[in-house]
């Protein structure tokens, strides 16, 4: 059974739009862009930490993807493929324009442009959840980049193991092991905020 997609396009519709876009239908492609732009922008923002760059490079990723649609395997989900294009673009951009930002010691600033919020509507739960969101924001910012990325992919972009493996071009075993270590790191960083 296919899971419900977090970005609002059902897999069947996604395949239909891709098939249409491959024939040059830009209206269909526009719908795909609309469906994925928020995830794509958030992913770019987490890698670049700059809204303007994130906007430009997410747009670039959509343009490159459109031009490479012939090489896309339509049996696979679109987003991991798009993410890989986006990631390549962002890493090249960082290399060209000062990759020092990527390995900055002040890692806390790395996700500062990516804001978290609580999902709950309940006001009491909401206050606690907002505090937790702040702590998590800080803690995720202190993780190693590869751990930060996988936490964002799994928990905020709601990607499956298979999608993450495809997007990062790594085996599923590595996805699991990286998630394990990322969560261990988060647990340690969250220790001072437990049960407060």
């Amino acid at each position: 059974m296919e899971r419900e997609h977090p970005h609002g396009v059902e897999p069947e519709e996604e395949r239909r739009l891709i098939a249409a876009a491959r024939t040059g239908d830009r209206v269909a492609y526009g719908r795909l862009v609309e469906a994925f732009r928020e995830r794509c922008f958030a992913a770019a923002l987490s890698l670049l930490n700059n809204e303007e760059d994130a906007r430009d490079l997410s747009q670039d990723a959509f343009i490159k993807a459109f031009r490479a649609l012939d090489r896309f395997d339509p049996r696979r989900p679109f987003y991991p493929w798009l993410y890989r294009i986006l990631r390549n673009g962002c890493l090249n951009h960082l290399k060209r324009h000062g990759s020092h930002r990527k390995v900055s010691l002040d890692a806390l600033t790395e996700v500062s442009h990516l804001q978290f919020e609580a999902k709950t509507e309940n006001p009491v739960e909401s206050i606690q959840a907002e505090q937790m969101a702040e702590h998590l924001h800080e803690a995720i910012g202190q993780l190693k980049p590869e751990f930060r990325e996988i936490i964002l992919m799994k928990h905020f972009q709601e990607m499956t193991y298979e999608e993450i493996a495809q997007a990062l071009n790594i085996p599923i075993g590595t996805v699991m092991s990286r998630l394990f270590h990322a969560r261990r790191g988060l647990a340690k960083l969250m220790e001072p905020h437990r049960d407060r």
Partner: protein, 145 residues
């Protein structure tokens, strides 16, 4: 006899993310009972997942999407135009080079033309080599798009 499900980083992640089937879960839990030190690790990881569950990335400000698709659409169109222009310019340049070489009789002018086009070739090769070196040094070149 089938090997029991190993207690590893991978199986712990798979267990917590609901990637094991019912039989594997039961097997994993049985193995876990015998290893209290791993039970603490699993509990710690489960706490992190529970803390992350009610949190989401805040949607960007609406202005981020102003003209977002229109710019993509226009760039897609523009790039097609650019490709046609480059291709056309290359054809014109080759044609002009051939026409000039064939049409002129003066040795000096012909030598000048040859040097000019030689210079273009050198520049072209230099740019190409630079690009190839860049690709070769690219740590992410093996990432297939």
């Amino acid at each position: 006899m089938k090997e029991p499900l190993p207690l590893t980083e991978e199986t712990i992640a798979a267990y917590l993310d609901g990637e094991l089937d019912a039989k594997q879960r039961a097997e994993f839990e049985k193995v876990l009972q015998a290893h209290p030190e791993w039970r603490n690790i699993v509990a710690e990881q489960a706490d992190v997942i529970a803390a992350l569950r009610p949190i989401r990335v805040r949607a960007p400000k609406a202005r981020v999407w102003d003209g977002y698709w229109e710019q993509i659409d226009s760039k897609i169109e523009r790039r097609t135009g650019q490709a046609l222009i480059y291709f056309g310019a290359a054809l014109v340049l080759i044609g002009a080079a051939l026409a000039l070489i064939v049409a002129t009789n003066s040795v000096v002018v012909r030598a000048g033309e040859i040097l000019f086009f030689l210079g273009l070739i050198v520049l072209f090769v230099k740019v190409l080599r630079g690009r190839m070196r860049e690709v070769h040094k690219d740590r992410y070149r093996n990432i297939r798009r």
